[in-house]
């Protein structure tokens, strides 16, 4: 019998039976055709329960009177989708929310889709899908495996191991990180965690991870670390800044491109139009590298004025590109 059939039969029986079922009874029913016996069979049952728990199906154990045997059950009120009693406005909002990640390469797209299907069971006549504003996230599944590993680490509080090439260094270095959080800026994913090598909380850009991410498989049910109470993802993202000057940057756009200055990933703090029509813009910058990449796209039409660290980074990129084409010409 295939494992999937066994799991379906186990779920069906424990759900339908209405009263707890002993392991002995399971051996004669769900597990009757299994070749394992004794302790091996019991371990199989434990693994099956773990598998179901991963999926959100909880197998409960109860002590049966009068013999004191253990019986197992899946409570119906825990298994079945409850009636959420959503108001029409809530349905619209939830439809919009669950649509955001549909069809994308993130680990959220599949679950968002099945959630949307489940909500339809709760709605008389369904939601008029066309009336819900469409907001979509579009991406390509380039980071899916890395993201899955990070989510596993975040969920089980397990350490992660991977090679990482940091900004300005040419060789990747093996890192061990206790994952504290995951965030996305301008479409790029970043892992935040305590780096065992640097002994502090750092942000790691997934684009710079040069190997698969390994989750520590030792003692899967025992957490490797605790996230400190003081940790706050939204304030704790520490960026590596070239030259150590963080915060704001100033850029001059030529008149032809002056329309475009507010479009990048950085927040505009202020802007000043000069006599010749060009515009000087001050940005609050998070990720300096993303920012420089964006400005470089404007070609000679935009120039970073400050801070020097970012100017250097831009010039380094331009020089590097120039040397590379001359080198392989």
């Amino acid at each position: 019998m295939e494992k999937i059939e066994r799991l379906i039969n186990l779920t069906a029986y424990l759900l339908e039976s209405g009263r707890p079922v002993t392991f002995e009874r399971l051996c004669r029913t769900v597990y009757a055709d299994v070749s394992s016996k004794g302790p091996a069979l019991h371990r199989m049952f434990e693994r099956d329960k773990d598998e179901l728990r991963e999926m959100g199906i909880e197998v409960r154990a109860e002590t049966l009177e009068p013999e004191g045997e253990t019986g197992y059950t899946i409570p119906r009120d825990e298994y079945y989708l409850p009636h959420l009693e959503l108001s029409p406005a809530e349905r619209v909002a939830l439809t919009m929310v669950s649509r955001l990640f549909l069809g994308t390469g993130t680990p959220f797209s599949g679950p968002a889709h099945s959630a949307l299907l489940k909500f339809a069971f709760d709605v008389e006549g369904g939601v008029d899908a066309d009336a819900v504003p469409h907001v979509h996230w579009v991406g390509v599944p380039r980071d899916r495996r890395l993201l899955n590993a990070i989510l596993d680490g975040l969920t089980g509080h397990k350490d992660l191991r991977f090679s990482y090439r940091s900004m300005g260094s040419s060789e990747p270095v093996q890192r061990e990180v206790s994952p504290y959080g995951l965030f996305n800026r301008r479409g790029s994913w970043y892992l935040v965690g305590r780096c065992h090598l640097r002994r502090e909380v750092r942000s790691f850009k997934l684009d710079r991870v040069t190997s698969p991410i390994e989750v520590n498989r030792k003692k899967p049910h025992k957490p490797d670390f605790e996230v400190p109470d003081s940790f706050d993802l939204r304030s704790e993202t520490r960026w590596e800044w070239p030259g150590g000057t963080g915060g704001t940057a100033r850029v001059r756009f030529e008149p032809r491109l002056a329309y475009g200055f507010s479009g990048g990933g950085a927040r505009v703090e202020g802007s000043r139009r000069r006599e010749d029509g060009s515009v000087d813009v001050t940005y609050v910058v998070e990720d300096p590298e993303e920012f420089v990449d964006w400005i470089l796209e404007f070609g000679a039409g935009a120039r970073i004025l400050s801070p020097p660290g970012l100017v250097d980074l831009a010039v380094e990129r331009i020089r590097g590109a120039l040397e590379a084409v001359e080198g392989n010409a």
């Binding site: 598998e51 469409h134 089980g156 000679a300």
Partner: protein
């Protein structure tokens, strides 16, 4: 995240209620809803056919019939209502909800908040490993609020109006006027796009919001779109480069070359044994590509075409002059 068996079991436990909800379900509906192919659905039905309740006699097993491409099930009433919202599902909703609140689509205290709370309340588990706890450690920021044009676009969507856009085309380097029927707002890699039916080219086009110079609401100038339904283009970028496109071959010294997927989703990527990455793509737009590639500095080699090397050299020299 679920393993292979977990995902399959999840799909089967959702498929059964979809079939039982009404009198059966068509094969097409099931494939669409479950995002699975015909073969997979048939294989799942074969598995169900072998399952049931003790004593697993003929009268205890789930029965499936397929008539005129419609699937019917019986003896599966215990799975007639779906499994409750799972941790993975709640997590996806919480992350998406937060992102939309952050991008300004929902006010604090809006129906989205109360709906997500209802979802959170039905998900089992508290504390470590719960969806709410994990969601607190994930933050997706959808880039700058699309604010400036969103209201006009939304009104256009609601009232079935067309929009007249003044649009800066990066590839052409000039401003054009386009009449479009708005369909949806799309966010991709930190940029916001309007997905719209462009009357001029009679096709779906994505317009980057930060390149829209002005929007004006106008009465629809043409007939409604000829195609039915809203089908999201899965990828943004040059999907159909056309016959005149240049064939470009690049070699990167590291993984960051994968970023080209953002703009050229149809590119092919080959990882070499020495750790370098070869990327092949087709584009009509060498000039923009040359500026885009500068970000990779010396970690990039342009194998072909020669013209692209020349353009990068020109662009980089000009930029160096600007920086003095």
């Amino acid at each position: 995240m679920l393993n292979k068996i977990g995902s399959r079991l999840n799909r089967i436990l959702l498929m059964v209620p979809l079939i039982l909800r009404e009198e059966g379900a068509s094969m097409e509906e099931l494939c669409d809803a479950l995002g699975a192919g015909r073969e997979e659905i048939l294989a799942d039905l074969d598995v169900l056919f072998l399952c049931g309740l003790p004593d697993y006699g003929p009268g205890d097993l789930i029965d499936r019939r397929i008539l005129d491409d419609r699937v019917y099930l019986s003896m599966a009433d215990f799975f007639s209502r779906p499994l409750t919202i799972t941790t993975d599902e709640a997590l996806a909703l919480l992350v998406a909800g937060e992102a939309l609140v952050g991008a300004g689509f929902f006010e604090p205290g809006s129906p989205a908040g109360s709906a997500l709370k209802k979802v959170g309340d039905v998900v089992p588990g508290q504390g470590r490993g719960s969806a709410e706890e994990i969601a607190r450690h994930i933050d997706v920021k959808l880039g700058a609020n699309p604010g400036r044009w969103w209201e006009v676009i939304e009104e256009g969507l609601e009232r079935g109006k067309d929009l007249r856009l003044e649009y800066y085309s990066f590839s052409r380097g000039d401003v054009t006027s386009r009449d479009v029927e708005p369909l949806s707002l799309v966010t991709s890699y930190g940029h916001w796009y309007l997905l719209a039916w462009c009357r001029r080219v009679e096709g779906r086009r994505l317009f980057r919001l930060d390149r829209i110079i002005s929007v004006e609401m106008i009465d629809p100038t043409g007939d409604g779109r000829s195609d039915d339904g809203l089908e999201m283009p899965e990828l943004v970028g040059e999907l159909k480069p056309g016959r005149n496109a240049h064939y470009v071959k690049l070699r990167f010294s590291g993984r960051e070359g994968r970023r080209l997927l953002e703009e050229w989703p149809a590119a092919t990527f080959t990882e070499q044994d020495d750790g370098t990455l070869t990327v092949v793509l087709r584009t009509r737009n060498l000039s923009w590509l040359s500026r885009y590639l500068i970000r990779f500095g010396d970690r990039l080699r342009i194998e072909s075409p020669k013209k692209l090397r020349k353009l990068v050299r020109e662009a980089a020299s000009k930029m160096l002059e600007v920086y003095g």
